[in-house]
């Protein structure tokens, strides 16, 4: 399998978790600030399943990326910039999904707010990594 194959695999695999993190943060945010408790729970439910699927799908994106870079885990230039953001984002995504899986709906409002802040940070890190990844592939 050549690098073009891995480039396509990585391009296909990365957008799924990125999109799901966006959905998760938006719905969790809506659930956090929604005054209607029943509706808020529904919003948080969407956020919960979205981050779970994003975390489950992320190893495919990571593995195809490692294969694409021939096992380079940091590199230089834009590859390094991509990695500076993607490794923390990947760790945070897995950590947040596990936390969410264990706590479910039993989180206090304070913990929920802390979770939401970290999820936003994950999203920003993921998008920044995606920006540098796109710069490498598209080049303009």
């Amino acid at each position: 399998m050549n690098q073009v194959f891995w480039a396509r695999m990585h391009g296909g695999a990365t957008h799924f978790p990125i999109a799901l993190i966006v959905v998760s943060v938006v719905f969790d945010g809506a659930g956090y600030f929604c005054r209607n408790e029943a509706r808020g729970r529904e919003f948080r439910s969407v956020g919960f399943y979205s981050i779970l699927i994003a975390a489950a799908a992320s190893p495919a994106a990571v593995l195809s990326g490692i294969a694409l870079s021939n096992g380079v885990l940091l590199g230089t230039g834009m590859l390094a910039l991509h990695h500076y953001f993607i490794w923390p984002a990947f760790g945070l995504l897995i950590g947040l999904a596990v936390w969410r899986l264990v706590v479910r709906e039993r989180a206090s409002r304070l913990a929920g707010g802390f979770y939401l802040t970290l999820a936003c940070l994950t999203l920003v890190a993921m998008m920044t990594a995606g920006y540098w990844g796109g710069e490498m592939v598209i080049g303009n």
């Binding site: 990947f90 897995i94 950590g95 264990v102």
Partner: protein, 128 residues
């Protein structure tokens, strides 16, 4: 001492996060090609052109945009070795701007003509 569920979950989440990143880093070795034998003891590090010259600007652009494929020493990695290139300036400029389908991305929109000329000036400093 009673530990809350949230705190236990946070510990578990942290362990999972570190384990995932660690596993990903360990997987890197599987995809890393075996090290190539060094042809001679005298393989020099990439010589950095003097500051203020177009070649130095080209070196900076190379490290930012090209090194991850052509290697930090421009000796080739995923992309080819750039030492001793015999192609014309116009051909190199065209390849940088338009890319090579399926092999190299195009940089025509990202890099200005001055940038491309600086890159060419840098590539011309790479002699075998």
């Amino acid at each position: 001492m009673r530990v809350s569920l949230e705190f236990k979950a946070a510990i578990l989440g942290t362990i999972s996060a570190l384990a995932s990143v660690g596993l990903a880093f360990a997987t890197g070795n599987m995809f890393r090609p075996p090290p190539q034998p060094v042809p001679s003891a005298g393989v020099e590090a990439l010589a950095i052109p003097p500051e203020g010259t177009p070649a130095h600007q080209g070196y900076t652009l190379f490290m930012m945009n090209c090194a991850h494929c052509h290697g930090n020493d421009a000796r080739g990695d995923e992309g080819p070795d750039l030492h001793g290139i015999t192609k014309s300036d116009a051909r190199i400029a065209s390849m940088i701007k338009n890319g090579i389908k399926g092999e190299m991305p195009k940089f025509g929109t990202k890099l200005s003509d001055t940038n491309v000329q600086a890159l060419i000036a840098f590539v011309r400093t790479l002699n075998d």
